[in-house]
Symmetry: C2
Subunit: 386 residues, 2 copies
């Protein structure tokens, strides 16, 4: 217990509902058990040791990170099986090698033959002060032309794998794909997409096997694709991230309910403007992020959906309709009159975010609550920047 | 000198061109001298002591801050005349009072009668452990129905001023207005808007004078309105912020040239995708922000405009057309072929931001360069969060 209450915090402040978090984590862990696939959760959303501990307790088989700073932070906290799953920039070789030399079991990735060659050159060139632990690389393949990955059309995949395998300082560990296109699909479409990825990964693995390049890792990800997959045969790890926190974008595509959203921003009412049918809160573009991923969707919530400060329960279909750096303007979604009597200056509300990753990144700590209870039971810190 | 080069930084990294900064700061300082009005620059964009020192050297008459955390940070660094110009939330009374008790000459503001009453109640109720320095309040008036301020229609302005004046722990210091509507106007329209604000502020001041409420401060702001104003009679301070850094939004509305933009993000090429006519950089939604304030404008630059890593010179009309958390996809603005041969994996480029405030907030430090010289001459830190 911290002695703090969520409805009397200095605002804006980031709030994390541990009860919802635990439920979300348990649900995905059960899903992974059902599929018989180890789960490698992504820490790019929480960036928080206590959340990683909770995921580990639920059976996580290692973690994904989105920056080497995260890798260092989680390594310091004792988490050693870390997959830095952003295509590797050669300028980061020294830092990655230092982590590996320090005992971090770091896996890296690339999504092109050129990337593989650049990585090998960068690791070969660096001044080798340490124990020269090989840096394991996973190669991303392109299944659905979504964003990245080596095309399976030619022999670039084999060449990339061999390039990484043949270097003293790097190693080839396997392949991965990302079903980014699964966001916004129906459950049936997401399941079909997952099946397409599984087949493509299996074909790629067999080609590499035939070339004498063993895939220890066959990694597949995206929260909706894993949630809805019928089966994931041959997949050695499922990468998912946003499921732990959820957000309005996920709720809008049916991957979560509003009541699953575990992260929110506590904000104070700072002015009522009856002439504009709105009130003003002290959470603006910096506190909420300018993510508008719900824009133009039936679920459009402006810059966020309002909930009660103390309990987290939704309020009157109010949304943050506009932001400046430190101010948010709150109106009803449909333009009907705002019940301004209920929102005096000083009242603390909460804002559910469009995109949890972007919103949480503006804060250095979480104020942890349990369900509808206003007591802040803990304060957890985050690792930001690069 | 740091021994670092901007084109070999670990990326993403925030870059600040001091030569451009100095030129921007000098230009606005000259403009303020021409208008005969003291300049109170806003520190919400830089959040950096060294930038404040540079502004002070150019004649700044105090500063504006956007959070109490900034106030504390600048107070620690010896800057004491600080105007926290976000409508005051009563929950921040204890922290504000502690700053005042510690010797910070902190000015606060409110934009409603209710806000004034809530502030007086909050300061009255707090446990008074210190010297009880009165907290000076400025009241915002609404001139153009842009965002906030007390309407001049009734007697709310006088009542708010008297409420603040009559309390032992608060004081009434004057009035302010913000010409937010000046963004996106032509120079002539911005000048007309400035004149409208000057008249409204003068009328409000005279009303308050008649009521025995003296306005020591008559504060007016927005970068375009001050840039283009014909004269600012009666204004005791001009509040401007973005002019020091500039950004693509400012350039798009004609308030700056592209060559005035002093802040940018260094990023590495991490993959080339000829099949998609694009390359990928390691600066995405977190590193650039999701601000799309140039969207739908002739100047639309996606999530940023590309420049050379070493020199900062613009490159081939390339823009960041899409982002995920850590990746940016770079294409030509008009869809013409990208000269991919020029962008091998590992090349460092710079991205000019849509909105400097939002982009800089993702970093804890600036890598400072001088004009087109790639040497990093200093590293300056920032104060983030709340």
């Amino acid at each position: 217990m911290t002695g703090l209450r969520v409805d009397s915090l200095e605002t804006p402040a980031l709030v994390l509902d541990r009860a919802r978090l635990v439920r979300n984590v348990g649900r995905m862990a059960a899903r992974a058990r059902e599929l018989g696939v180890p789960l490698r959760p992504h820490l790019k959303t929480p960036k928080c040791v206590e959340v990683a501990e909770l995921l580990a307790d639920a059976g996580a088989a290692g973690f994904c990170v989105s920056t080497l700073r995260e890798a260092g932070y989680f390594h310091q906290a004792g988490f050693d099986d870390l997959f830095y799953c952003v295509p590797f920039a050669p300028g980061k070789a020294e830092r990655a090698a230092a982590l590996a030399d320090d005992g971090c079991r770091l896996t890296l990735m690339t999504d092109s033959l050129e990337g593989a060659e650049a990585a090998v050159a960068a690791f070969g060139n660096r001044s080798d002060r340490g124990r020269a632990v090989p840096l394991r690389f996973v190669v991303e393949i392109d299944v659905d032309a979504y964003r990245s990955g080596i095309s399976l059309g030619g022999d670039a995949l084999e060449r990339a794998a061999r390039t990484l395998d043949g270097s003293g300082r790097t190693g080839f560990a396997g392949i991965m794909s990302y079903a980014g296109a699964s966001y916004g699909r129906t459950p049936g479409e997401a399941a079909a997409l997952a099946a397409e990825h599984v087949t493509a990964l299996d074909n790629a693995k067999q080609r590499l096997d035939s070339a004498g390049l063993a895939c220890e890792i066959v990694s597949f990800g995206s929260t909706p694709a894993v949630l809805h997959a019928d089966a994931l045969p041959g997949i050695t790890e499922a990468r998912c991230g946003i499921y732990a926190f959820q957000d309005l974008f996920q709720a809008g595509i049916g991957a979560a309910g509003i009541d699953d959203i575990a992260v929110s921003v506590a904000a104070s009412v700072i002015a009522r403007q009856p002439e504009h049918n709105r009130f003003v809160i002290d959470a603006g573009g910096l506190a909420l992020s300018k993510d508008r991923s719900t824009a133009g969707k039936p679920f459009d919530a402006g810059y966020g959906l309002l909930a009660d400060g103390a309990t987290g329960r939704l309020l009157d279909d109010l949304i943050v309709s506009a932001v400046s750096q430190e101010l948010g303007l709150v109106t009803t979604r449909d333009g009907s009159p705002v019940d301004l009597a209920a929102y005096p200056v000083g009242r603390i509300v909460r804002v559910l975010p469009n995109h949890a990753d972007m919103t949480a990144a503006a804060y250095d700590r979480y104020h942890v609550v349990e369900g509808g209870n206003p007591e802040v039971v803990a304060v957890w810190s985050r690792s930001n920047y690069w």
